[in-house]
């Protein structure tokens, strides 16, 4: 008990030092996180947390979860198909996905497939808008999405189980089981999730169904933490995923589609921490593998593939300066990545990075992070990067925040080595950005209005005119120069009136992303993007309504009105009833209606998205 208390006090004081609107801990429970950087070094940034109850409402896909809850544009090739995400008008490879502090974007294409991950097993998903290369490396330009496992030490041993099962339209079945064991010195989380769907929804206004769109996937995550001594802990995380999807066809003839795609990933992370009074040490070892297989014809065994292995070793040390109310941290990381595809022989890329971060808390009113980083890469020069974040409280409730950073995205293996087309002379894309925001927060209501400006240079673009010696051959070059600016609004409201509880969450963003050469909006960047979530609960009933507005996007550089994807509105709603509402056991039954108004919409041209569909679910905690 004494140990735990110490750690709890320590942790709380630590997060106070870092000053985040974070984690409310009961004194007898200690929350253990793999990635402390996010909480410690996000002064001046906007970080939105999607907790498990939000995640459970959108378990059908990571794409849908983000689309309805985050200020992010998701580009999805039909429901369940290839999917990518972008922040603030940047490109898909400018969004980094961070698993327990480790960047997991593919080294082959620099992106994460947002339908090739199961996120329902994670305890929290944090979305940080703004550049994060300093902490998270390549690709963290528009923003970062953090998938976190939260382990807990508890003074009283406890075991929590949760099972969710759902059945939906188009033969969709999902099941999740999560186990959480919390003890004095030991914490274990384990989870398994399985999804499958025929996904053959009728295409509104046509005689076709979504053909060849079926999918199934299995995710197994296990993590654990062990308290070795008062000062030291060992943490282990693994996440495994296997998925098989068929790629649906498009109009005018969806029946022609017969391709298949498989994803396999295995991620392992071991962390040792040692916290002394002034020095905190952390050593991380990670081993990550990813593989995809693309079957051009599902009836034929032959496939194209890409696979990678990454080894990471990381040593972090921070030194507290209590007199100054400050700390200095050093992060050293060595990474060795092996990547290959059926057309690229295995290549090894080695990278070392060193960064320093200085945190300062001035009288509990001003919080400041100053960060610098330098990378050394075996393949190309990576520029020196830096970042500064400040948050200042004008009153207890009113604050202003600002940040500025320089970020980068390295060329992918495909960019560099694609046979006959890859370009070994590529250099990393770089982007400088600044952001300024004001916010207000009290117990019921919070609002944050921010404006951002990003200037991206040397963006890597594949073009048939990239090599003057070889017109017509598509090659990647550093060419594009884009300036993004925009405004973002986030609003949360929460209130209880007797037995009635109301919650409202709203995101709105306006984005201009202008290519400096054409002076036009960059393709597939909606100017307007908004989502709204409203929840209401009364006694054992709870009701929610989600609304998405996605503005029109251009698909050609000249912004031709002949080639656009029109704007769309989509709404979902659901009702839950709690059958059991005890301290030990809770059982709820729910019904959800997706695309309530049966709206025809497309995200990619000629690929209609699902019409109105239903889902019944049961959620049992014991």
């Amino acid at each position: 008990m004494k140990n735990t208390l110490f750690i709890a006090v320590y942790f709380i004081s630590f997060s106070c030092l870092a000053q985040n609107d974070s984690l409310v801990n009961q004194l007898d429970v200690v929350l253990i996180q793999a990635d402390k950087k996010l909480d410690k070094h996000s002064a001046g940034y906007k970080v939105e947390r999607l907790n498990d109850s939000v995640i459970e409402k959108n378990i059908e896909s990571f794409s849908n979860l983000l689309r309805f809850n985050a200020p992010i544009y998701l580009r999805e090739y039909g429901a369940g198909g290839t999917s990518s995400a972008s922040f603030r008008g940047t490109s898909a490879s400018n969004t980094a996905v961070i698993w327990n502090g480790i960047n997991i974007n593919s080294i082959n294409n620099g992106q994460t497939g947002f339908n090739s991950l199961t996120v329902s097993l994670f305890d929290a998903i944090d979305i940080r808008s703004g550049g994060g290369s300093l902490e998270y490396g390549s690709g963290a330009i528009g923003g970062t999405i953090h998938l976190n496992d939260n382990l807990e030490f508890s003074s009283k041993s406890q075991t929590k189980n949760q099972a969710i099962a759902s059945i939906g339209s188009y033969e969709t079945y999902r099941g999740i089981y999560k186990l959480k064991v919390s003890q004095n010195k030991l914490a274990i989380n384990a989870g398994i999730s399985y999804n499958q769907s025929e996904n053959d929804y009728p295409w509104l206004g046509t005689a076709f169904k979504n053909t060849n769109g079926a999918y199934q996937n299995l995710g197994i995550n296990i993590s654990g933490a062990f308290l070795i001594s008062q000062a030291s802990k060992l943490k282990l995380y693994t996440a495994n995923y296997w998925g098989e999807r068929f790629f649906s066809g498009e109009l005018p003839n969806p029946t022609s589609a017969n391709d298949k795609y498989q994803d396999l990933s295995n991620r392992n992370l071991l962390i040792y921490t040692n916290n002394q009074q002034r020095f905190n040490h952390e050593v991380k070892l990670a081993y990550l593998t990813q593989e995809y297989r693309y079957f051009e014809n599902k009836a034929i065994e032959a496939y194209n593939f890409g696979s990678s292995r990454q080894f990471l070793i990381n040593y972090n040390v921070s030194y507290a300066l209590p007199n100054l109310n400050a700390s200095i941290s050093s992060y050293s990381e060595y990474e060795s990545a092996y990547g290959k595809t059926d057309r690229i022989d295995e290549r090894n890329r080695r990278q070392f990075s060193q960064s320093f971060i200085y945190d300062q808390n001035i009288k509990g009113a001003v919080f400041l992070d100053a960060k610098i980083r330098k990378d050394f890469n075996s393949d190309y020069e990576v520029p020196f990067t830096y970042a500064l974040g400040v948050k200042a409280k004008a009153t207890q409730q009113l604050f202003v925040r600002a940040n500025g950073s320089k970020n980068f995205r390295v060329p992918t293996y495909n960019d560099l080595f694609w046979p006959g087309q890859g370009n070994l002379d590529l250099k990393p894309e770089t982007a400088s950005q600044v952001e300024f925001g004001v916010g207000f927060k009290n117990n019921q209501f919070s609002i944050d209005i921010g404006s951002f400006f990003i200037h991206a240079k040397d963006k890597i673009v594949w073009t048939p005119s990239g090599d003057p010696e070889r017109p017509g051959i598509w090659v990647p070059i550093n060419i594009s120069d884009v300036k993004n600016k925009g405004v973002e609004l986030v609003l949360h409201y929460k209130a209880n009136f007797n037995k009635h509880a109301v919650q409202i969450d709203l995101n709105y963003s306006y984005t201009e992303a202008i290519d400096s050469e054409t002076n036009k909006q960059v393709i597939f960047v909606p100017k307007h993007l908004a989502n709204l979530n409203m929840g209401y609960s009364y006694k054992r009933f709870s009701f929610f309504f989600q609304q998405l507005f996605n503005g029109e996007v251009y698909t050609t550089e000249s912004n031709s009105n002949d080639f656009i994807v029109p704007h769309y509105f989509v709404s979902n709603t659901g009702l839950d009833y709690r059958l059991l509402n005890g301290a030990k056991q809770q059982l709820s039954l729910g019904v959800k209606v997706n695309n309530l108004f049966d709206t025809y919409y497309v995200i990619q041209p000629r690929r209609p998205m699902p019409n109105r569909n239903f889902n019944l679910n049961i959620n049992y905690k014991f």
Partner: protein, 356 residues
Amino acid sequence: MKMNSLITKCLFLALICLTSCSDDDEIIVVPKGDYENGLIISGEGSGAGTGSISFVSNDLSESENLIYKKVNNVELGTFLQSIAFDDDSAYIIVDNANTITVVDRYTFEFKNEIIVNLSTPRFMTVVGDKGYVTNWGSTSDDKDDFIAVVDLQTFAVDKTISVGNGPERIIAKDGKLYVSHKGAFTNNNIVSVITISTEEVEEITVKDKPDELFFNDAGDLVVLSEGRTLYDANWNVTGHTLASISTIDVSTLVIDTALDFELGAHPSLMVLDDNTIYYALGNDIFAMDADATVLPGASLLAAEGYLYGMAVGGNRIYATNASFTDVSTLNIYDLASQDKIDTKEIALGASKIYFN
């Protein structure tokens, strides 16, 4: 545009009728549709937009994009590979969609579609009431390539004729089909000759990657082979194979003349007009007599941008400057002076030009 121009044309027709009646002229020319007397240009489309068709009138006064979409309010999809024509219909071939869309060739109104039993269809030719369509089959199988025989009354694939890897262009003459095998996702070096009545397939070996083919005024088959670029295991360029323009006597299936290009040159886009052969090397367009025994030394003109489609006719050279991220440009040159006469904005990924 459609309704308005129809009304205009009706009025115009009435006028002509009135005037011609007074002239005692009995011949009345009835317009067959909006898209007569001009160029039909197909664009392949890309991730930036659908495959589409543009129209440019012969007098260059009118041009219109996305004509199929405007008439029928649906998109053709990607990638629009080619169009075949008979007297009344145009057959629009979209390879990734395994679809041939049949439209009225002058109004572009939808008539029918063929969506089964095609597998990466490329080009088609019409003989009588049958269409013959080259198909690549699956990427991962170079033995499943075929010619689909389409009944143009029922729009069903009646049967298939198995052929070598990567059949591309197809033309017909005197009961036989002539197919160039560029080699699909790999390479090939044959021209298939198929006797329609017996389905017997004979092969002529030519230089690597044969693509465009046609008959010259002497009745010989002319084939452009582009030649290959060779790579090592790490995809470094290690060499080339020869490109050539072969002239084949179809009675004996023997190559009469083969005009080889210098090693490393990879010509493309060969067309015939007025018994003159035109082809492109990079952006340079060359012209030579169909009976020439040596390749020309100097080019006729250098086209602008990304030369991806070419046609010669009516004393003009039409060259597309293709964009796959945006609308493309059609550059029109006077054949005699090589001066640029005009430019038009045309379909995204503009590739093939047809006279309608």
